[in-house]
Symmetry: C2
Subunit: 637 residues, 2 copies
Amino acid sequence: MGTITNHPKVNLTQTRTYCETLKSDLKETFFPDNPFGGFKSLPPGRRVWYGLKYYVPILEWGPKYTLAYFRSDLLAGLTIASLAIPQGISYARLAGLPPIIGLYSSFVPPLIYAVFGSSKNLAVGTVAAASLLLASIIENDVTYAENPELYVNIFFTAAFFTGVMQAVLGFLRLGILVDFLSRSTITGFMGGTASIIILQQLKGMLGMTHFTTKTNLISVLHAIFHYRHEWRWESFVLGICFLVFLLLAKHLKEKMPKLFWVSAIAPLLVVILGGLFAFLVKGEEHGIPIVGELKKGINPLSIAHLTFKGKHLSVALKAGVLSGFLALAEGIAVGRSLALLKDEQIDGNKEMIAYGLMNVAGSFTSCYLTTGPFSKSAVNYHAGCKTQMSNVFMSICIMLVLLFLAPLFKYTPLVALSAIIIVAMIGLIEIHEYKRLYKVDKFDFIVCMAAFIGVVMFTMVIGLSVSVGLSLIRALIYVARPATCKLGNIPGTDIYLEMKQYTDACDVPGVLVLQLTSPIYFASAGYLRERISRWVHDEQNKRDKSEADLQLVILEFGGVTAIDNSGIGMLFEVRKNLEKQGIKVAITNPRQEVAEKLVAAKFVESLGEEWIFLSIKEAIAAWLFTLHEAINKEVQV
Amino acid sequence: MGTITNHPKVNLTQTRTYCETLKSDLKETFFPDNPFGGFKSLPPGRRVWYGLKYYVPILEWGPKYTLAYFRSDLLAGLTIASLAIPQGISYARLAGLPPIIGLYSSFVPPLIYAVFGSSKNLAVGTVAAASLLLASIIENDVTYAENPELYVNIFFTAAFFTGVMQAVLGFLRLGILVDFLSRSTITGFMGGTASIIILQQLKGMLGMTHFTTKTNLISVLHAIFHYRHEWRWESFVLGICFLVFLLLAKHLKEKMPKLFWVSAIAPLLVVILGGLFAFLVKGEEHGIPIVGELKKGINPLSIAHLTFKGKHLSVALKAGVLSGFLALAEGIAVGRSLALLKDEQIDGNKEMIAYGLMNVAGSFTSCYLTTGPFSKSAVNYHAGCKTQMSNVFMSICIMLVLLFLAPLFKYTPLVALSAIIIVAMIGLIEIHEYKRLYKVDKFDFIVCMAAFIGVVMFTMVIGLSVSVGLSLIRALIYVARPATCKLGNIPGTDIYLEMKQYTDACDVPGVLVLQLTSPIYFASAGYLRERISRWVHDEQNKRDKSEADLQLVILEFGGVTAIDNSGIGMLFEVRKNLEKQGIKVAITNPRQEVAEKLVAAKFVESLGEEWIFLSIKEAIAAWLFTLHEAINKEVQV
């Protein structure tokens, strides 16, 4: 084998201790972004300060705050406040809560986020999907009509659990969990939720007073037609006017992005004009239901009202955890896409801590679940926000509203809120995205549609679970059925490529080159054993008809990132099986983790170190050399 | 780029229809062994016959049966029958069932397996772990003492569900599910179960009459000492004698494998001698409890006794499904390891169907769950069985025992059964295997110990679930955190290898080569985006101090076996991000499935087809060429 001595060889002696391996694995799993990477060279005191700045970003950007930033942030803050008022009221109604709680929820959480949040573009507020999800779970326990106080308290408790869960996930660096909510799942879930929310708004549009608490298509349609004697044309006409106005404003924004603010303040205009109209014509007496009494004053403390008793506890926990996951996924996705536009990085784990703290603080001060909704954050971004301070300005506006103007919103017609919600939801049904998914990846399309149809036809929890379940099954099937392929040589080169893909690639006489990929794992070991023996069998059948017998099987390990005990057991079996048939086995290019384990399990010892090569070319050269020597010996004898 | 025209290029035009992709994916997932591969060229009539032979293996080997086979199988059959009698009685007692049901269970199922089973070495019978698991689940619903008839019927019903589940899994080719019970889980589970079974036998060894139905260490120890006034020294002394005898026989087998039959018939000898002894000294009156009345006659029909009502149904279903999985995993593993010794292949899916049919038939004829236990099958193998016919001979022996000799076993001392069980279980606690796991793979060791400790300290179901859960989490972490590494050039070659592993590998000035492996997937897309940007960032920091700026990032895709929608989204983002910093992106060696999707999602179009290469060498050559041209142009201007 003198021909290859000038090449480097596979390093089989280098072994790391278990601690080193574990440390590096844990680091990749939980700290993929290496947040403290830059601190290592600093003295301890500065390290603590940097660590603190890492967890409390305001310490980082606060001291550098300038007047120019102030002007931009103030403008952005005013713009998003004008959106926060109607959205806050609308989504609170969607959750079946008193509208004032929607305003409360736009006051405290944004302040907390400004301190701990790392995204400069996110505008904090309540979201439609999570509001509806919370309501659909909590209404199984108690409805607002049955016991208003308890109903509201369970919402606060749910927000508390959401916050604790989010903060814990963030501290434990379990951002990895959110990775399992795929984009396809979220797209489908959002679309499905938006569809049922729009349908539910027919209640408001038609001025109905009775309705169903269920969210599925059949129940909603049934309720609409069952109570058709309650339909009021006055409400419907007004609603259509609002809808047209809002859609025009939205259209204007799309045509002329500079006029985004028209679309941003349009909902507030609708609320104000609608309120004036309802006040003037005494709408309530003429088939235009209004929001009703709103108390003046900022958030009352709710910390004493959290209910941790028996049945309510488990409902609050379930509602909090599920909606918390959803809110996290939405918030982080929104933060990430906006950061990308400005070429900034945000840290998912840090964001989780910020969300967690803001929801815990919120649950103590009469707020329900908040996150970073897409619509508001996009407006914030377009309005030119520079830092998290825009949330503070929004918060101040809401505080002023709560202190002085809240009672004025009493006259807001419900139909105005419905129109606002419908327009906000239309954008979430991304037909073009479904089409694209269908074209690019049928399974992603199925995952997406499972969420959509599950939400529309059954419940939001079913839609979400089925979709996540399908994604996980797919991931597990990938683990259980890794790709293997037969490589062939491109004539005149040292390149070996998949024979099915590259028709130029040729068989090497007497040799079968198989590329294994992905970890070799308990779930895939059995499959790989079968598959390798099938490759060998097929090869032998084919070779029967041609010249050379199969004498060497090369397993190309370059793509094998890990191997476990069952995988090594499989290798032992494969080798035993093949050697019984007089076929040698060689392994090429094992990675360090894999080489370490092969040595530890004595596979290398049993195979012979000389059958482990750096490249396919070398393996074949070495094999030809031994073959040649064997023939020479025979000739001499 | 004229330098590379003589090389083949990545084929970006070849696209398969969705049906083709789906068909090939389904085939790899469910038919990895390609069972019907050889039939394609046959006429339809012969195909049906071959298909039938595939599902009913007796049609394959039956016609070729010879007298030589008959002699071998008869001998093996007699040997395993001598083991089946004491084991059947013992394990039935372990399940809390009347001993006669253990004998029934060794009569019908082996006959069915002989027809449908594909393993020539498997000996069918009841197993200790599954017996205990069934009892531990069913005793939550009803105990034998409370309602003997119902208790027994629930066992039959559980066997029915086991059978239906196994057959359905086999027909649907869901052998993939068994793949998720890893070898480490089974090793730990078996060891833990064997430990608690041994502890439980202290009841029999000490001749106690009261005991606990719980299986965990604390409860068992508590019961032993709580009822210590029941301890009988007579029973204990006899037990120790039996134990010593059985251990000696076992030791003899290990020293002289040819004398395996001594160890095989030792249990029967113990039962016979013990029975004689108990009969002669009237053991029952002197602290040596005996088995008691056994009815003559073969299996009564039990089909009318299956209970599908309310609470019992769900208990039977749970017990049947859980123990069925366990039995499948044990049976298939045993069949596979024995087949390997004889260089034969067995088909997991076909085996499932055979197990399913034998359990359904068993549940109709007063049998409880059966599978292919390791001890019996190993004896069968060593006794020189040639075909499935040895099961038939065993079955005939058991039939004769049931018809004529059953009442004689009345005098079997319980302590003899305990000794038999203890000796059978000792071999299942594989301390050397735990040590090996600890050395080779710490995580596998944890998975194994989780099963062991879970079973010993809590319940069997908890041990099994925690262990499988840990394995799945590990598999999912692999999916979510695929390995990436930086490749460097080995000077003087075209080989690019991981720089951390091969210290000879050198940086290419201005170029960063990253190898991605495993599917790029919704669960890993976020991580990969972070990780790539960290690689780039680290590289830029390093390069600041040296000469060349980073200008090209090559993503080596050879190990990427699949990509989904989120993965493609990630690529778009990465590219956008890098190009903003003036860094080009190139992709090398994408596999066909991945190339197809990149084309469909218009990523190739957006990147430019000329930035997709077959090898890293070509990518760098092409990049240098364009660089060179650009400089030339500048010089000319």
